[in-house]
Amino acid sequence: MPKTKNTLRLNLLAMFIAIIILQTSIPLIGYIPIGPLSITIIPTTVVIATILLGTTDGAIIGGVWGLITFVRAYIWPTSPLATIVFVNPIVSVFPRIMIGLVAGWAYTALRKRFKNQSLSVSIAAILGSITNTVLVLGLIYVFYKAKAPQLYQINMEKLLPYLIGVVGTNGVPEAIFSGIVTPLIAVPLSRAIKRRQ
């Protein structure tokens, strides 16, 4: 029955959105502070959604995360970085949609080649995480070059090295974390879902 599947899909998407909302507002399960860095584990959630629900839905979940980041950059910023960078919807939303798409494509391509599901999930997760970092960094650079109007007119020329330093140093542990944790969560979950159907 296709209709039943639609209702389930709607509810699964809603639950993933709820988890994302939770992760963006509670530090412990959304961000892991390690020393001076604060790495986000939300890309992990996006990749898990991609693997369990498919590429399109993963992109939707990523987009929702981006929208939340975008709105919060104005009304309830999480870091000074957010007020400078994420007030631009292209920087905050687009990379997050791409996490879902890249991880989804990588996963479907890898599953055809490898027998090992964990390995495919791990590589897809690392790629998804790297997509986020690279696109955010790249777009910051592009918009700096294009001299886009900003909410807070800060002299970007002096600030750019620091900005790239912060995002870049976060990106590496984020990718490692994603690569290790995502298969540990996604594989048992996908088995649990299969068992019920």
Binding site: A14, L22, I34, I41, Y74, P173
Partner: protein, 264 residues
């Protein structure tokens, strides 16, 4: 717990409470856009007076607003400091290495401080006087024109309402999981990357499994009650455009015009 959406709503019967959520949402949007145009003392003052009137009309004690700003104080100070130390132009008053303070940067820093406050105030008014579900309803009404291009507005709104409904539930579950793991001796607050990974997995797996269980149970329950699609649903609460909305919009548009007139 820093929470920007939940547990902040204060029931009331004021002017702002009675306005329809869609117009409150659009007004907040409009207000943030107008803030972009303000660039001198007079225009910022006009906006500050407007927001003071809105706060008075919301019937919410000013203490709640101050409480809302408290977790953001350091962030605001940091951003203002960045602005003051890193902006160029104007007469240099003080210089040390890459940092410099100019008279222009001081003025801009002050304006950014006001800008921050104004945006936080308007969004606080919105979340203090509107329930999350009413906001979801407002989003649905605001996005209605997108239906013309086949964008699934109603499905999105339903999804958002379900998500908002389940955030507190999932939060409770997470608390239980956290305490269960803590009672087994897991330390969430410290340790190396490897340690953190080991702590995160037994937290996230039950959370996701719980969420998937909710989704399945809810689907069964919805279908048992005859849910077929989200396009033709009726509503329990209907928010209509009222005279109060029209009056508020007129005032906001007037102030918007004033800001355009006053700006340099």
């Amino acid at each position: 717990m820093s929470n920007f959406l939940f547990g902040r709503y204060l029931p009331g019967n004021s002017w702002v409470h009675q306005m329809s959520p869609q117009s409150k949402l659009m007004l907040s949007f409009y207000f943030v856009i107008v803030i972009f145009f303000a660039n001198n003392l007079a225009s910022y003052a006009a906006l500050a007076v407007l927001i003071a009137i809105v706060i008075l009309l919301s019937g919410v004690s000013i203490l709640f607003f101050l409480k809302g700003i408290r977790p953001l104080v350091w962030l605001i100070i940091f951003t203002v400091a960045l602005q003051i130390l890193f902006s160029a132009g104007g007469t240099v008053l003080w210089k040390w290495g890459p940092f410099s303070v100019t008279n222009l940067s001081l003025i801009n820093g002050g304006f950014i401080f006001i800008r921050f406050l104004l945006i936080i105030m308007i969004s606080t008014v919105l979340t203090l006087t509107t329930t999350p579900l009413a906001i979801a309803d407002g989003v649905q009404t605001v996005l209605k024109p997108l239906k013309k291009v086949k964008f699934p507005v109603d499905t999105l709104a339903l999804m958002l309402s379900i998500a908002l409904r389940f955030v507190p539930t999932l939060m409770d579950e997470m608390e239980t999981i956290l305490n269960a793991q803590r009672s087994r001796g897991v330390d969430f607050g410290s340790g190396s990357l490897k340690h953190r990974v080991q702590a995160a997995v037994p937290l996230l797996v039950p959370l996701f499994t719980g969420a998937i269980n909710h989704a399945e149970n809810l689907s069964t329950a919805m279908e048992a009650r005859g849910f077929s699609d989200s396009e033709h649903r009726s509503k329990y609460r209907i928010y209509r455009w009222q005279l109060k909305d029209t009056v508020s919009w007129l005032v906001f548009l007037l102030v918007g015009g004033l800001v355009l007139y006053l700006r340099k």
